[in-house]
C-alpha cells in the first residue's frame, strides 16, 4: 500500500516541480517549447478525464461501441475547426476573453447578468463532475491497495486538499498575460502523455499478454453482445452532438482551447493531432473490455476492469502505472476545471458584487487585483469543497456514473448563445438570456435534479409521478414525451427550448448600440480592423482617474507601462496619454483581460460615464466590411497578374540599379581621367607664370606638355559627347553607300599607327571586295579603330597577334576582329558592350566598344562578342549590304 502511495506522491511532486520550473522560465521570458503546437494539443486532452479513463471500458463492456461517440463528437468538432473553433479562438484573442461566460457576456453587450447566469450553470454542471473525479481517485486507490470504503473520506479529502494547493499555487499567481498558465499547461501536457501511455500499456497487455492475440481477444464478442442493433439511433446522435458541444463549451475545454492559446496556428495542428490522441486512447478500450469480461471474476465493476485486469494477472507494476494514469486524468481535469470556474466566479460574481459594495471606498494601487486573486483562491477551495461534500453525500451511488453526460448536457446550454453570437448579427441579449435561463432550468428539472435519485430538491415520488402528482410534469417524461432515453429527452427539451427562445425573443427585441457594436466585432472578426472600431464608443474621462483605475486592476508597474506606451503612440512626451475614446476603449480591453468584459466595462463606465455610440458610423463599418469582402475577392483574382508584373518590375529595377552603379563608377572614372590632364596643365601653366627665369627650351617643353594634355582632354570630351549623341539614337541615317573594304583597309592602318608593326602582327583576311554598306565612313573607321585598339590594349601576350577578317554573307557584310589575348569571360560578354563597362583597368575610358556598338546598331547592324578556338576574343560586326 505504501509503495503505491509513495509512487503517487513522487509523481505529484514531479508535476509540482515541472509546473514550477516552467513558470519560472516563462517569467524570465523563456516560454519556448511550452508554446508549441504539440503541448497545446496535449493540453486539450484534459477532455479525457478519469470518467473516460475508467468509465470508457465500463461503457464498452455494458453498451458496446457507444463509448466511441464521446471521442467521435470532438473529432468532428476539431476536424471542423474552420467552422467554429477557429472563430472562437480569434475572438478570444482579439477581445482578451477570460472564460466562456466572459465570451457570451461580451458578445451580448458586456452583460454582467448573463455572465453570472452562465457561471452559475457552469458551477452546477461541474460540481458532480469534480466529485466523480474524487470518486474515481478514491475507488482506484482502494482497489489497488485492497482497501475498503471506510477510507473514502480520508482519501478524497487529501486528494481535494492537494488539488486545491496545486491549483492555488500555479493557477492564481498573476492576473495578466491573458490568463495564461504556463506551468499548469506543462503539467497537464505531461499528464496527457502518462494517461495515454497507461491505456496503451494495459491494452497491449490485455490483447497479447492475457488473451494471446486479436482473434482470441474478441472471441466472445458478437453483434448481439455489442448491442449493435440498437446502438445507432437517437442516443448515438445525441451523444455525438453533446460531446462535440462539450469539447467547445465545457469551461475547462474553453480554457485550454481559447484562453490558453498562444498562437492561432497551433489550432491547425490540433485539428488533426487531438483527434489522433483520442483515437489512440480509445483504440484499446474494446479489447480491454472484452478481455476483462472474459477473464475477471463476476464481482468486478466494468468501470475498474482497466485496473483490475493487471491486478488479477499479478502485474502489480503495470497496475501501479494504470493507477498513476488514472490519477493524471482525474487531477488534470480537476485542476483546469477549478482554474476556469474560479476565474468565472471571481470575474463575474465576486467582482461585480465587490464593485457595488465598495463604491466610494478606499482605492489603492493593485487593490482590485489582490481582491480578484483572493477571490480566485477562495473559489478554488469552495469548488473543491463542494465536490468533496457532493462525494460524501452522494457517496458511491450509481448517480455519479452518468454525471459526465449530465454535465455535457448542462454546458451545451451555452451553445445556442455562442453560435448565434458569432454568426448571427441580430441575436440579442434578451434572446440569449431567455434561452439560456430556460435551457438551464429545463436541464436541471429533466436531468440534473432527478439524477440525485430523490436526495436533493426533487423527491423520489416527484420524479416518478410528477410534482403534486401532475403526470404531465414528470421530469423524465415531460408533457407526455415518453419512451425516449433520459439523456435524449432532456437534451431535446432543454436545447430545443433554449434555441427557440433565443431566436424568437431576438426577433422581437432590438439590440442596444453596445450590443450592435459587439455583434459586428464578433461576427466580422475576420474582416474588421479592430483598431478602426475602438473610436466608436464616445466617452471621456480624466486621464488621472483612468490611471488610478488601471493601477488598481493591473498593478502599478504594468499600468505605468501601458500608459507610457499609449502616450508614445499618441506622440506625447509625458507619461499620461490623452484620454481619447480610442485609448479608453483600448484600456477597457486590457482590463477585460484581467477581470472580464462586463466588469471592465462597468468599472470604466463609472469613471467615464455613459457612452454614446454613433450608429451611423457603426452601420458604415458594417457596410465597409461587406465592401471589403467584395474587394478582397476581386483582388485575389488579380493577384496572380499583379505578382507577375511585380516580378518583371523587380527584374527591371535590379537592372536599373546595376546600370546606375555602373554610371556612378563611370562618372567617377571620367572625373579622374579629366583631372589627370587638367592637373598637369595647371601645374605647368603655373610654372610658366611664376618663374620668368626659365630657359627657352624648358618653356617650350612645358608648352608642348600643356598642348598634348589639352589634346587628350579634347579627345576624351569628344568621346563622351559621341556616346551621349549615340545614346539619344541621333546617328545619321541618310548615308551614301560606301565601299566597306576600302574604309576598312585605311582604318586598320590608322589603328596600328600608335603601336608600331614591330609589337603587333596583323593578319589581314579581306574576302568581300566591292561590298557596299550604308554607313558614315568616318564612323565606320571609328568602329574598326576601336575594335583593333581594344584587341591590342587588352592583350597580355608578348607577341600580340590580331586577325582582321571580312566576308560577304547572305545577310550582309561581316567583319571579324580576333586576337590571341585572354578572351572575354562568357558571363561578362553581355556587358562589355554596355556604355560604362570596363573589363580591366587598362586602357581608355571604356567607351570604345559601347560607342562602336551604338554606331553599328544605328545603321541596322549588330556587334557581337565571341571567342576564338584558342580562347582569344572575337568581335564580329554584321552590317546590312546595300543592294
Amino acid at each position: 500500500m505504501n509503495a503505491v502511495l509513495g509512487v503517487a506522491l513522487v509523481y505529484v511532486a514531479a508535476l509540482f516541480a515541472l509546473a514550477w520550473w516552467v513558470d519560472r522560465r516563462a517569467a524570465r521570458g523563456g516560454g519556448g517549447w511550452v508554446s508549441s503546437p504539440v503541448i497545446y494539443t496535449l493540453s486539450l486532452s484534459v477532455y479525457c478525464t478519469a470518467w473516460t479513463f475508467y468509465g470508457a471500458v465500463g461503457s464498452a463492456a455494458r453498451t458496446g461501441v457507444e463509448f466511441m461517440t464521446i471521442y467521435l463528437g470532438p473529432t468532428l468538432a476539431f476536424i471542423g475547426w474552420w467552422w467554429l473553433i477557429r472563430k472562437l479562438v480569434r475572438i478570444g484573442r482579439t477581445h482578451r476573453i477570460t472564460s466562456i461566460a466572459d465570451m457570451i457576456s461580451s458578445r451580448y453587450g458586456k452583460s454582467g447578468g448573463l455572465a453570472a447566469l452562465a457561471t452559475v450553470g457552469a458551477v452546477l454542471a461541474a460540481t458532480p463532475y469534480i466529485a466523480l473525479q474524487l470518486q474515481s481517485l478514491t475507488l482506484s486507490y482502494e482497489t489497488i491497495t485492497a482497501g475498503g470504503p471506510q477510507q473514502d473520506s480520508v482519501i478524497a479529502f487529501w486528494a481535494a486538499a492537494g488539488l486545491a494547493l496545486f491549483t492555488i499555487l500555479f493557477g492564481t499567481r498573476t492576473l495578466d498575460e491573458n490568463e495564461r498558465h504556463h506551468g499548469v499547461v506543462a503539467a497537464i501536457a505531461a499528464e496527457a502523455v502518462v494517461k495515454l501511455a497507461a491505456v496503451i500499456a494495459v491494452g497491449l497487455f490485455a490483447v497479447f499478454g492475457v488473451a494471446g492475440g486479436v482473434r482470441e481477444t474478441f472471441a466472445g464478442v458478437t453483434a448481439e453482445s455489442l448491442r449493435l442493433d440498437e446502438t445507432f439511433g437517437g442516443r448515438w446522435m445525441t451523444l455525438l452532438f453533446l460531446s462535440a458541444t462539450a469539447v467547445i463549451c465545457l469551461p475547462r475545454q474553453f480554457q485550454v482551447t481559447v484562453v490558453e492559446n498562444s498562437d492561432e496556428s497551433h489550432l491547425a495542428t490540433a485539428s488533426w493531432m487531438f483527434p489522433l490522441y483520442m483515437l489512440l486512447i480509445s483504440l484499446f478500450v474494446m479489447p480491454i473490455a472484452a478481455v476483462g469480461a472474459a477473464t475477471l471474476p463476476a464481482g468486478w465493476s466494468p468501470d475498474l476492469y482497466i485496473l483490475a485486469l493487471p491486478l488479477h494477472e499479478g502485474a502489480n507494476a503495470l497496475a501501479t502505472f494504470i493507477f498513476i494514469g488514472g490519477l493524471s486524468a482525474a487531477t488534470s481535469m480537476v485542476i483546469v476545471s477549478t482554474i476556469a470556474l474560479s476565474t468565472m466566479i471571481s470575474n463575474h460574481i465576486v467582482a461585480p458584487l465587490a464593485l457595488r459594495l465598495s463604491a466610494g471606498g478606499g482605492e489603492r494601487s493593485g487593490d482590485v487585483q489582490a481582491m480578484l486573486l483572493n477571490a480566485r483562491r477562495g473559489a478554488i477551495v469552495v469548488i473543491l469543497a463542494l465536490g468533496y461534500i457532493y462525494f460524501r453525500v452522494a457517496g458511491r451511488s450509481d448517480a455519479l456514473a452518468s454525471t459526465g453526460l449530465i454535465a455535457f448536457c448542462g454546458v451545451a446550454q451555452f451553445l445556442p448563445a455562442l453560435v448565434a453570437g458569432v454568426f448571427w448579427r441580430n441575436a440579442t441579449l434578451p434572446g440569449a438570456a431567455a434561452g439560456m435561463a430556460a435551457g438551464l432550468a429545463l436541464w436541471c428539472y429533466t436531468l440534473y435534479l432527478p439524477s440525485f435519485g430523490g436526495a436533493f430538491l426533487l423527491s423520489a415520488d416527484t420524479i416518478a409521478n410528477g410534482p403534486f402528482g401532475i403526470s404531465a410534469l414528470r421530469p423524465y417524461a415531460l408533457f407526455g414525451f415518453e419512451g425516449a432515453d433520459r439523456l435524449v429527452h432532456a437534451t431535446l427539451w432543454s436545447l430545443g427550448t433554449n434555441a427557440a427562445l433565443l431566436v424568437g425573443v431576438s426577433l422581437f427585441t432590438r439590440p442596444t448600440p453596445l450590443e450592435r457594436l459587439q455583434s459586428t466585432l464578433f461576427v466580422d472578426v475576420f474582416r474588421s480592423e479592430p483598431s478602426l472600431t475602438l473610436g466608436l464608443v464616445r466617452r471621456s474621462a480624466p486621464g488621472q482617474d483612468l490611471f488610478v483605475l488601471a493601477q488598481r486592476v493591473l498593478g502599478a508597474e504594468p499600468a505605468a507601462t501601458l500608459f507610457a506606451q499609449a502616450a508614445r503612440l499618441q506622440g506625447k512626451p509625458d507619461l499620461l496619454p490623452d484620454p481619447t475614446p480610442e485609448f479608453i476603449s483600448r484600456l477597457e480591453r486590457e482590463l477585460a483581460g484581467s477581470i472580464g468584459a462586463a466588469s471592465a466595462h462597468a468599472m470604466v463606465s463609472r469613471i467615464a460615464g455613459g457612452e454614446t455610440i454613433s450608429m451611423g458610423e457603426l452601420v458604415e463599418i458594417a457596410d465597409e466590411n461587406a465592401r471589403l469582402v467584395r474587394a478582397t475577392d476581386a483582388l485575389r483574382a488579380k493577384s496572380a497578374e499583379a505578382e507577375e508584373s511585380a516580378a518583371q518590375l523587380r527584374a527591371a529595377n535590379e537592372r536599373l540599379m546595376e546600370m546606375d552603379a555602373q554610371k556612378d563608377e563611370f562618372l567617377s572614372h571620367v572625373g579622374h581621367e579629366l583631372r589627370t590632364p587638367m592637373t598637369s596643365v595647371r601645374s605647368f601653366a603655373e610654372l610658366l607664370r611664376d618663374d620668368p627665369g626659365l630657359a627657352p627650351a624648358e618653356r617650350r617643353r612645358f608648352a608642348d606638355i600643356i598642348q598634348a594634355e589639352s589634346v587628350r582632354l579634347t579627345r576624351l570630351i569628344d568621346e563622351i559627347h559621341d556616346l551621349s549623341f549615340l545614346e539619344r539614337g541621333a546617328a545619321g541615317r541618310d548615308m551614301e553607300p560606301v565601299d566597306a573594304e576600302a574604309v576598312l583597309a585605311r582604318a586598320v592602318e590608322v589603328a596600328l599607327s600608335p603601336f608600331g608593326e614591330r609589337r603587333v602582327r596583323l593578319i589581314r583576311d579581306f574576302a568581300a571586295p566591292g561590298a557596299r554598306v550604308r554607313i558614315d565612313p568616318d564612323r565606320f573607321s571609328q568602329v574598326v579603330i576601336n575594335l583593333v585598339a581594344n584587341a591590342i590594349l587588352h592583350n597580355d601576350k608578348a607577341a600580340v597577334e590580331v586577325t582582321v577578317r571580312s566576308r560577304a554573307e547572305a545577310e550582309g557584310f561581316v567583319l571579324e576582329v580576333e586576337d590571341n589575348g585572354p578572351g572575354i569571360a562568357r558571363e561578362i560578354r553581355g556587358r562589355v558592350l554596355e556604355p560604362f563597362y570596363r573589363g580591366s583597368p587598362k586602357g581608355s575610358s571604356g567607351l570604345g566598344l559601347a560607342i562602336s556598338a551604338r554606331i553599328v546598331e544605328a545603321v541596322g547592324g549588330r556587334l557581337t562578342v565571341g571567342a576564338t578556338a584558342s580562347g582569344g576574343a572575337r568581335l564580329s560586326v554584321h552590317l546590312p549590304v546595300d543592294a
Binding site: 468538432a77 471542423g80 474478441f218 453483434a223 455489442l226 448515438w236
Partner: protein, 84 residues
C-alpha cells in the same frame, strides 16, 4: 502525393487552391458525420470479423483515421495561409 513529401504546395498557395482547401475544411466534418451516423453506420452491423476484430470496430476506427489524415492534409494548407 505522399504526405510529408517535398512537393507539398508552397505556404499560402495561390488563391484558387486556398479556396478549395477552405471548401474542403467545411465539408470534411459533414462528410465524417454521415459516415459515423445511421443509416450508414448500420451497414456494418454484422457478426463478421476482420482479422478477428468486429467489423463495426474496424469500420469506425478506419473512418476515424481517414478523417484525421484528411484533416492533417488540410491543416497544412490552411494553417499557415492565415485565416480570412
Amino acid at each position: 502525393m505522399k504526405d510529408g513529401a517535398p512537393q507539398r504546395p508552397p505556404r499560402g498557395g495561390d488563391g484558387f487552391h486556398d479556396s478549395r482547401a477552405r471548401d474542403a475544411a467545411f465539408a470534411l466534418p459533414l462528410f465524417g458525420l454521415v459516415l459515423v451516423a445511421p443509416p450508414f453506420a448500420n451497414l456494418f452491423v454484422t457478426d463478421l470479423t476482420i482479422l478477428g476484430a468486429p467489423v463495426i470496430g474496424v469500420y469506425l476506427f478506419t473512418v476515424w483515421a481517414v478523417l484525421i489524415y484528411c484533416a492533417r492534409r488540410l491543416s497544412r494548407r490552411l494553417g499557415e495561409g492565415g485565416p480570412r
